[in-house]
Symmetry: C2
Subunit: 172 residues, 2 copies
Amino acid sequence: MAQQAQFEELARQLSAFGAVKRDLGRILPSDCPTGSAGVLTLLSRHGDMRMSKLAELLAVDMSVTSRHVTHVAERGWIERAPDPADKRSRILRLTPAGEAKVCELSRRSTELLAERLSDWSDDEVGQLIRLMTRLRASFGDCRTTLTRATHTGAAHTGAIAPVIETTTRTPA
Amino acid sequence: MAQQAQFEELARQLSAFGAVKRDLGRILPSDCPTGSAGVLTLLSRHGDMRMSKLAELLAVDMSVTSRHVTHVAERGWIERAPDPADKRSRILRLTPAGEAKVCELSRRSTELLAERLSDWSDDEVGQLIRLMTRLRASFGDCRTTLTRATHTGAAHTGAIAPVIETTTRTPA
DNA sequence: TATTGTTATACTCTATAACTATA
DNA sequence: TATAGTTATAGAGTATAACAATA
């Protein structure tokens, strides 16, 4: 159990962290804002899934997910196929154009991070990833995703197997 | 220099970190959204300052800062005094009511973090704070604030001295 | 009756641009 | 002419609630 002053400092860090996220958002293509990028990236990492699963991974309400999904579907980056097992549901799947977009997104964000973190060691980056992953898990977050596969270099090559399927937490 | 797969994973962590921030935002009083809380917290930590300085610490455009400041001023949590040295400028200062609000905000966020991170060690929290601070610094961020004072327990008792005054980066 | 997903509405945060007042 | 700050406007993200279709 950490100290009160630490929690206050951590809260401040979390509050100020938005600036980093905004910097990362600024390098995205103008037709692919952060919400769309999140949809594409998760579909690439976890493979085809339903709306409800995607909403869980994004940790936002399904109404929000629906809007983002509509946006990327209109641009031809994903397809919404009917679910033969449940006619209410739709299976989301990346198109080839969507996979290309994922590669572009990955390239852009990787370039920015490589530039900004040029003086970070491999171990330091790994530590930060590990602690951020754990913090999200401590907040009841199901998106602990891919920690073990971090060093494989396979993350940008297309869909990979789901890694951890823990809770069924609904964000709202 | 870290590996490409690490940067991709870090980008994903940053993207998903919004969920933690939203959780933290949900516990705020309804009349004090995150923008207002940021203003109050920074004034408490760094003491009186001008709009431009606050905008720099918040890492948002001054137009955004102006709106947040108006919001908290309307509620009597800060005062905007004329700057005798520059009639264009205004000096922002917490009122007693504002200091009380800061205590309430601190209490709420500390409680949430203490609950969520009950199984974290003191050292782990310190590591996360250190790495988040460094990441923000690597992103050209001037708000590295208070790292040394983390363990003093004085952060919630009112205004404290500014700690680090590095760059003069303008967010936009 | 409960669940999946969509849509309408509203709120917060942010940025750009135009504007006022002062340096 | 440049700077400090305000305001108007627009865009993105999110949540709640009402709704349709299906389980």
